[in-house]
């Protein structure tokens, strides 16, 4: 079974470089995967960095005019030859077991969505740490990774999964992060891929996750498939305008209450357990429950 790692890239040359290096140091044989970088019209050194990078694996570079992440990912899959597609964003270095861990959870049935675990690095000046980071990645990637923090949203939703990684929850798609998720290329294509009407930043990943769930795929959480996001100095307001339009598109396309309630969960007004109870239409379990809300550091108003 072979994997194609799809990386949409836009103006993150430095972070993308570290991501590519991390993929050169995998426990898995490099002949078992290919990496496809889809450059969504970057204006920085992305093109020269990718084209001059000497990879251990087969590395394909495609460039398009700026059309957004959904289009980029779909284009990447069109160029893919692997049985499994792994979506990894351009600003996240992966642990050495990453590819192996994703591949291992896919059986022959092409019916699994594998969600990895997302951690974050906070470097106020990444270029100062680039050399040390590169060296660490080349030698087992264990020095810096001790200081990574689990992404709070991912941490909260991981409560949906049992210790063996399976889940019986009705809303596992709220853990579908296109920054670290894999699915069979067949299932992706049959479901229609990412909705390209999502042009801004927002919910395109949840919407695809929702469709895959509706199509009957099983969600599995594989914490050892870990990647590390290099956090950015972005303003919170940057997201809000995009989020509103994006969510409205999601809600209009799927006018179901489990979709509508996602807004309340993301705003921090609905706990994970209450969300489940609303969707199951069953509050009988609620009395002894510890209600977990998204922490303020990740909730957004939109």
């Amino acid at each position: 079974m072979k994997a194609s790692i799809i990386i949409p890239a836009y103006n993150q040359a430095e972070r993308l470089y570290l991501t590519l290096v991390s993929l050169s140091h995998q426990t898995c044989d490099p002949s078992l995967f290919e990496v496809i970088v889809v450059d969504d019209g970057s204006e920085d050194e992305t093109s020269s960095i990718v084209q001059s990078y000497s990879a251990q694996y087969h590395l394909k570079y495609i460039r398009q005019s700026n059309r957004g992440r959904a289009v980029s990912r779909n284009q990447g899959v069109r160029e893919a030859s692997g049985d499994i597609v792994i979506f990894n964003d351009c600003d996240r270095a992966v642990c050495s077991h990453f590819v192996e861990a994703h591949l291992a959870r896919h059986g022959v049935l092409s019916d699994t969505v594998v969600v990895g675990s997302i951690f974050e690095f906070f470097f106020s000046d990444l270029s100062l740490r680039r050399k040390e980071l590169t060296e660490d990645i080349e030698h087992g990637f264990s020095k810096f990774t001790r200081f990574a923090r689990e992404y709070p949203y991912a941490k909260v939703v991981s409560d949906m999964y049992a210790p063996d990684g399976t889940t019986a929850w009705p809303i596992p798609w709220i853990s579908f992060f296109s920054g670290n998720v894999s699915v069979s290329r067949k299932a992706f294509e049959e479901t229609g891929g990412f909705d390209e009407a999502f042009t801004g930043w927002g919910f395109e990943h949840f919407e695809l996750g929702y469709r895959l769930f509706q199509a009957g795929l099983q969600y599995v959480f594989e914490p050892s498939a870990r990647n590390f996001h290099f956090a950015h100095r972005r303003e919170e307001n940057f997201y809000q305008a995009n989020l509103r339009a994006s969510f409205d598109h999601f809600k209009t396309k799927h006018p179901r209450h489990e979709v509508k309630q996602l807004e309340n969960f993301i705003k921090g007004n609905l706990s994970l357990q209450e969300y489940k109870a609303l969707v199951d239409d069953d509050s009988s379990d609620m009395d002894n429950q510890n209600l977990v809300y998204l922490p303020q550091s990740v909730t957004v108003n939109f």
Partner: protein, 95 residues
């Protein structure tokens, strides 16, 4: 992380050194006062998370995601109090 801090249990000094490392205005550690707003000593939201990670390692505490609401840690002094609180909890747990 690779630098070694003083062994003395001087929270304010150790905290100032951590802030100085992450400060984007390169403010020297000995110029940092408890009354300073973090923003005024060159700490924005990204460098704030950077110092949270250093603080966890330096003082052996865990900063919960729930505690990270931005208004809580507006000054250096607020951070110092939090560290003292968490250290007392950790010590109490061990006894």
């Amino acid at each position: 992380m690779e630098q070694s801090f003083s062994e003395a249990d001087n929270i304010e000094l150790r905290l100032s050194k951590i802030i100085a490392r992450a400060s984007f205005t390169k403010v020297p550690a000995d110029e940092i006062k408890l009354t300073n707003l973090l923003h005024d000593v060159g700490i924005d939201s990204l460098s704030f998370m950077e110092i949270v990670v250093y603080i966890e390692e330096e003082f052996g505490i865990t900063v919960a995601d729930e505690d990270l609401a931005s208004e809580r840690f507006d000054t250096v002094g607020a951070l110092k109090s939090y560290i003292e609180e968490k250290r007392a909890e950790t010590t109490a747990d061990k006894q």
